[in-house]
Amino acid sequence: MTTVAWTSDEIMTVTASRSLCDGMSCFVGIGLPSTAANLARRTHAPGLWMIYESGTLGTVPDRLPLSIGDGSLADAADTVVPVPEVFNYWLQAGRIDVGFLGAAQLDRYANINTTVIGDYADPRVRLPGAGGAPEIAASCREVVVVMRHSRRAFVERVDFVTSVGHGSGPGDRERLGLRGAGPVRVITDLGVLEPDPRTRELVLTGVHPGVAADEVRAATGWDLAVAEGLEVTPEPTDAELSVLRSLTGAA
């Protein structure tokens, strides 16, 4: 790996932020997704319309919130609505362009597990659970997943389907009545995975600078296919890095 002026987490967050276009509405999870969304809003997508599940619509926080319900989110919002409204009137009604999710486990069809590692009745690790994710994954026009790459996290089959990605392949989302397109991109600290349009299986479509496809395959728990014409992520710009670091306090 070449020496770089940025970390693998930073290029992951920058790449994720580039998934967001100006004017989009974005349902933002806390952590990496929130950092990426706030970065996008301060760089190329000033009109990004961020919704947190606490009910803050169109919020423009002056700093990174630690939780989805920080006071800074309420103060800076176009409006604050009760939690049932954010799920029913906004998410379920299909008004959100992109849902930004994290995951503890993800499988080759981009199904998401944030519930348990191991058996549900007798788990090896108990995780926080579903939160808003099942319906974010179902109802947003598209979903972007941001998570760090490892064989433990990228598995052949998730231990528990908390949120449906592409189920077990083509036609599953339609059969289940899920109205959004599902995960269109998984962004990791190594590269970018996208579902094959035909099989819906995740394929490596991009690597970050200095990362080899084989490295990504080695960090993936299934036999990861590599797209022809594999792209290399453009390096983070100075502007992106300086805004990101001012957000995370790592300047």
Partner: protein, 282 residues
């Protein structure tokens, strides 16, 4: 109507009750949760969309036999170790769980507040939540034939929420992120509200939710009673306390020491707040 917190908990909460202490990051009824621990209540079914450290404490103290929830974690920090320990090792007592999504839980409260036996939503389809929870079923739209999810109403025996203020008649006002507190209160058989202060008149505030006294049973003054979460206009979230909980919750010994200290102390007086008010700008 307005009574000390220990009295209110004694009157309203009983062993075996289903209890919802709601709050979505903001206005979490921590003081009331601690009083439940102090009074040694047992076999509670605890309900909350986002159980966080006060639920970790209740679980670690052995108050709960079941948790109904949709996301259990230490927001912005990580896992709840007492919750994990109870689920995976049954310490100090086994904890049964019933698990939903946020959308499902929010609609369960809405149904409860509405006097309906169930709610419908587009949700859960294709997830393993369904197979592990008999309280998630499907229902067919009688007009379009579409299949939707159905979840039963939640009607807690007691709902506890924290609010900024009450008037002397016991009408309550909260604002900022108001989460699902209105629905949780209206869904309950009995309602306890802790407040930062009692005032002569509830001047209207943008974004307010007003809970009329007639749907509440007891109001108790607990200044600072939402800390380490925050009370919009009163004090800010103590992020450091959330981070610090991780080390305490992670270790049975450290937790037990924390618990001994909590139960040895009397409830905080109803007077001026413990945490410094951080400005009242509305």
């Amino acid at each position: 109507m307005i009574v000390p917190l220990d009295e209110a908990v004694r009157e309203l909460v009983h062993d075996g009750d289903t209890v919802a202490l709601e709050g979505f990051t903001h206005l979490i009824p921590v003081a009331a949760g601690h009083e439940i621990i102090r009074q040694g209540l047992r076999d509670l079914t605890l309900v909350r969309m986002t159980p966080d450290i006060v639920y970790d404490q209740l679980i670690g103290a052995g108050c709960a036999r079941k948790l109904v929830f949709s996301w259990g974690g230490n927001p912005g920090v990580g896992s709840l170790h007492r919750f994990r320990d109870a689920v995976t090792h049954g310490w100090p007592v086994p904890l049964e769980i019933e698990e939903h999504s946020h959308a499902g839980m929010a609609n369960r409260y809405v149904a409860g507040a509405s006097g309906l036996p169930f709610a419908i939503l587009r949700g859960y389809a294709g997830t393993d939540l369904i197979g592990n929870n008999p309280n998630i079923r499907t229902i067919t739209c009688p007009f379009s034939g579409q299949e939707l999810a159905a979840v039963p109403a939640i009607n807690p025996d007691v709902t506890v929420v924290h609010a900024q203020r009450a008037d002397r008649d016991g009408n309550v006002q909260l604002w900022g992120i108001t989460g699902v507190q209105k629905e949780a209160a209206l869904a309950a058989e009995r309602v306890l509200v802790t407040v930062e202060e009692v005032v002569d008149a509830l001047d209207p505030v943008p974004g307010q939710v007003v809970l009329p006294a007639r749907v509440l049973d007891r109001v108790s003054v607990a200044a600072g009673g939402a800390a380490p979460s925050y009370a919009h206009g009163y004090y800010e979230r103590d992020n450091e306390a959330y981070r610090a909980w991780d080390a305490i919750g992670r270790d049975r010994g450290a937790f037990t020491a924390w618990l001994a200290e909590l139960t040895a102390t009397a409830p905080p007086p109803a007077g001026p707040a413990a945490p410094e008010p951080a400005g009242r700008g509305l």
